[in-house]
């Protein structure tokens, strides 16, 4: 049916600087993803890098999705937004500030508030993985466009 194994998602730049430290969970995840491209290495000195990936912000929030007949929350929706941009050596935007969102739903029970806080953590981690994958596709596409 035409499917083939995905080739390396080569990026258009040999070296990349990321504005998130390698010892943070986010920084380590981004570095692992960049390593799979086979084309790009991470450098810690921004001045040396062909391109700079800037994580502009990660916003998290939750909204009430449904209520019980007694006005208590039955389901929450969690939403996470990742904003980033990619700059070239001269500081020109290769990818202008881009915002991507993911959301997850979970059932809430006020009598389980401690456990539900940890469920939020699980879902936020899942969304973060998802958003980083989407960001990688955009980084790879930026190479094709330019």
């Amino acid at each position: 049916c035409g499917f083939r194994l995905r080739g390396p998602q080569r990026l258009d730049f040999a070296t990349l600087h990321v504005n998130v430290g390698e010892l943070t969970e986010l920084g380590a995840s981004i570095r692992r993803l960049i390593a799979t491209t086979g084309s790009t290495t991470i450098v810690e000195d921004a001045a040396q890098a062909d391109a700079r990936l800037q994580i502009l912000g990660i916003d998290r929030g939750r909204e009430i999705l449904s209520l019980t007949g007694a006005g208590k929350v039955r389901e929450y929706q969690l939403r996470q937004t990742l904003r980033f941009q990619l700059l070239d050596k001269s500081g020109k935007a290769v990818i202008p500030p881009t915002s991507m969102s993911a959301s997850r739903e979970y059932t809430f029970d006020d009598s389980q508030v401690l456990g539900k806080a940890q469920e939020e953590t699980l879902l936020y981690e899942d969304m973060q993985k998802d958003l980083l994958q989407q960001m990688m596709r955009r980084l790879a596409a930026a190479e094709r466009a330019s």
Binding site: F3, R4, G7, G38, L56, S66, L67, M100, L123, A141
Partner: protein
């Protein structure tokens, strides 16, 4: 030495320096700073119309440059002029004067008459007649005066200005002052905000500082603005971007609607500072509800808001909010106080403190304390659903230390105030964590690509109610994984050892059970996936379609955990995140036994140009090789969960350019029934034009009083209905309980530089009780909203809602 130090002055046509009527000695552009001793012109200066052919005149070479004709003085609100375009050949700091006739004495006083124009840097002053006194750098302009500086325009019949200092005075001017609004979020597009109006007198008091008498100010562009601020004295400070009105009022459609003896207001639409207009609304709980906030700007980094609030049913409430920001700390405190509620006859109070502090570069502390006087506080006194639905109010203090390298630690003390306004539905108080200590070590950089992770926790669970067990729990969970990843695959084998020990103080009823329990569980997992892709085309659009199978095997041996009470543990909601997690329980009191394989396939449609994801579909299932033995409670139904093999499926994204869907299905193949089904469809053909339909079904979702089952139908939307009017609404109907749990209806009007909104909101708070509120708001663009604000309600309740009076730069529509 009168003119010493002044910048070069270029005059066009220049003064006559000899008897022939035109300067031929040297071009004006070459004139050097005026000599220390004034050199008077050799002759009384005749009115000279310089020949345009003369190359000896002004630097621009154009001897007679018709001044741009200023707008008629009668039309006092100037049409925003383009940015002043000074003569490009003019050097920085030089002054150029052009007119039909120039009279006077260089270095003393020049009179430029007829289409007079004075330029320096980005300042252009035009008038019928300009008198310029070079020694004091002063220009007196008369007749059709137009001053353009940067993006600002001031017009009037007469002005006296000191050009270099940006000081001076306009008589009966009209003005338009424009600034770029600095984006609050990095990467947001800039937009311009213009304030305009007129005054009896406008004084320029240096760059970005204006003081006006008997003045108006508005963000409306029209000559006859729909609304404006009118003030006896008005200060516009474009350094702080704050306007201050003394003896002012807000006039809407020629009617004064709000009087203010003193008020600050934002000049560039930044909402954090400035004018706080009254809010009013009405609800069945409070009656008519009027709040008049008073904003007190104590210091640049401290402010307070004091809000008297009058509720016709309940009486007077006093609220206060205090915010502060320092180099190493920030915080916000809030109190509300009612001496006596006329309905309950009691004193009612609220206190809330949030404080964050950086103690050292690596050590952070935070405090979050919330308290109300009684269980019905929010139900009775707030019409906001996010507040009214609150059950637990957090009270916690925490310290966290990040070493900046591979480890971090934190300490937390946490308890909750639990509100139980409804005696038919009592929520238990959660356990207090006094304290919880966490230690995390993370090394993603070990030899061979190994990743080491250690989570360790000590926690003391305490409970105010003595029928609950209390305990000390100590947990250590070291894990080693080897994430292997290629472009088209990943494989992550992982092994961990979860060790915990409990010291439990049991209530009398559980006397027979052990007080010391230790539980050690090895956890093994292998996560793996492949990525395939192909080029495809749907409805004439090219996409890259991916196919991503994923397999997750989990092996956790069974441990008897029936003697461990549940302190912080609950079952996760089943979802795609949950079926790939190591434990089906959150918290540490249950480690679910597992010998199962989860398989899932995801397919996505990706825009090949940008890499943006347009649509995704997922399907997944878990296969159990053996029955599950570990349940939350002894002998409860979840023990049989091992027999179930739920299929999970999801579809989300954009079906077409205007139609998007999000859906989720969970189907129990063992019982042959649907566990969960959610489907949401949105049609959004334009900004502020959206329709949503949503259906939610959950067979085992726990509802009111422990009843099972959820079935909701939800319809919402925002739609233009013509002539600037928009309708907005939402209805949520519980099909299970056969009642409307939430309803919103609203109307909005976009008046160009203002908007009007009215919204009615009704939602269930108890089985036989609802909260009903009406919100009325008049929003003056880039100034303030008067009346209670339904915007957050509409944004939350109506997916795709667009603020109708948002400037086009702020409109985010169809983001991906």
């Amino acid at each position: 030495a009168l003119a010493a130090g002044l910048p070069p002055l270029l005059v066009s046509p220049d003064l006559v320096r000899d008897g022939r009527g035109a300067s031929t000695s040297r071009p004006a552009a070459a004139l050097q700073p005026a000599p220390a001793k004034p050199v008077p012109a050799t002759q009384p200066v005749p009115a000279v119309r310089a020949p345009s052919a003369s190359g000896a005149t002004g630097g621009s070479g154009a001897a007679v440059t018709p001044a741009p004709s200023p707008g008629p003085v009668a039309d006092r609100a100037p049409v925003p002029q383009p940015v002043a375009t000074p003569d490009p050949s003019l050097a920085a700091g030089d002054t150029l004067i052009k007119a039909q006739r120039i009279l006077g004495t260089r270095s003393v006083e020049l009179v430029a008459d007829g289409d007079a124009e004075l330029q320096r840097d980005d300042t252009v002053l035009t008038a019928d007649r300009v008198t310029y006194r070079e020694p004091v750098d002063e220009a007196v302009a008369e007749g059709n005066v137009v001053l353009r500086a940067g993006q600002d325009t001031i017009t009037g019949p007469k002005a006296t200005l000191v050009i270099g200092e940006s000081t001076g005075e306009f008589e009966t001017p009209s003005y338009t002052l424009t600034r770029d609004r600095t984006p609050t979020v990095a990467g947001e597009t800039n937009r311009k905000v213009s304030g305009s109006g007129n005054a009896d007198v406008l004084r320029l008091e240096g760059e970005n500082q204006y003081r006006l008498e008997n003045a108006t100010w508005s963000t409306c562009q029209a000559t006859d603005p729909d609304w404006y601020i009118k003030a006896r004295e008005l200060e516009l400070d474009y350094d702080r971007e704050v306007g201050t009105a003394h003896g002012g009022s807000i006039v809407f459609q020629d009617v004064p609607i709000f009087w203010m003896p003193w008020a600050e207001f934002p000049l560039s639409g930044q909402r954090q500072s400035g004018l706080l207009p009254p809010t009013f609304g009405s609800s069945n709980k409070t009656g008519a509800d009027l709040a008049v906030p008073y904003y007190w700007n104590i210091a640049p980094n401290y402010d307070a808001t004091i809000t008297p609030r009058l509720m016709s049913r309940r009486g007077m409430q006093l609220g206060g909010e205090f915010r502060y920001l320092g180099e190493t700390y920030r915080g916000e405190s809030r109190v509300e106080w009612m001496a006596k509620d006329n309905v309950t006859g009691e004193e009612r109070t609220l206190a809330s403190i949030q404080h964050q502090q950086r103690i050292t570069p690596n050590l952070y502390g935070s405090l979050d304390f919330n308290s109300v006087s009684d269980d019905s506080y929010f139900e009775d006194l707030s019409s906001r659903i996010s507040l009214a639905s609150q059950v637990h109010l957090l009270r916690q203090g925490s310290l966290s230390y990040s070493s900046g390298s591979w480890w971090s630690a934190s300490a937390l003390v946490q308890s909750y105030q639990t509100l139980n306004p409804d005696p038919d539905s009592i929520t238990a108080t959660p356990y207090r964590r006094v304290p919880q200590l966490l230690f995390n070590a993370y090394r993603p950089d070990l030899p061979g690509g190994l990743v080491f992770d250690l989570d360790a926790e000590y926690v003391r669970f305490a409970h105010p109610d003595k029928i609950y067990a209390e305990a000390d729990r100590l947990t250590a969970y070291p894990q080693m994984s080897l994430p292997l990843q290629g472009a088209a695959w990943f494989l992550t084998p992982k092994a961990g050892f979860h060790a915990s020990s409990y010291e439990i103080d049991r209530p009398a009823a559980d006397a027979g059970k052990p007080d010391s329990i230790s539980r050690n569980v090895p956890i093994l997992s292998i996560d793996s996936g492949l990525f395939f892709e192909r080029d495809t085309s749907w409805f004439g659009t090219n996409f890259v379609q991916t196919l991503e199978p994923r397999l997750f095997y989990l092996r956790v041996p069974e441990r008897d955990q029936r003697d461990i009470p549940l302190f912080d543990t609950t079952l996760y909601t089943q979802s795609f995140a949950e079926i790939f997690s190591e434990n089906r329980y959150s918290g540490g009191d249950r480690i679910g036994d597992a010998n199962d394989l989860t398989a899932a396939v995801t397919t996505r449609l990706i825009d090949p140009e940008t890499g943006a994801e347009r649509l995704r579909a997922l399907v997944g299932q878990r296969y159990y090789f053996s029955d599950q033995e570990v349940g939350l409670f002894e002998g409860q139904e979840l023990i049989q969960a091992g027999g179930r093999t739920d299929v999970l499926a999801g579809l989300g994204g954009k079906l077409t350019q205007h139609v998007s869907v999000d859906s989720y299905l969970q189907y129990d193949t063992g019982e042959g029934q649907t566990e969960r089904f959610n489907a949401t469809m949105r049609y959004q053909p334009a900004y502020a034009k959206a329709l949503n339909v949503s259906y939610r079904y959950g067979r085992n979702v726990i509802g009111y009083g422990g009843e099972l089952g959820l079935e909701d139908l939800d319809v919402s939307g925002q739609w233009p209905i013509g002539r600037g009017w928009y309708g907005v609404g939402r209805v949520t109907r519980s099909l299970k309980e056969n009642r409307v749990t939430e309803a919103i209806g609203g109307l909005e009007y976009d008046g160009g530089c203002w908007a009007f909104r009215v919204a009615v909101h009704r939602f269930a708070i108890e089985r036989d009780d609802v909260s009903q509120a009406i919100y009325v708001q008049l929003e003056l663009n880039d100034l303030a909203g008067i009346g209670s604000n339904p915007l957050s309600l509409l944004t939350r309740s109506v997916p795709g809602y667009g603020k109708i009076n948002a400037s086009s730069a702020d409109r985010v529509f169809g983001v991906d």
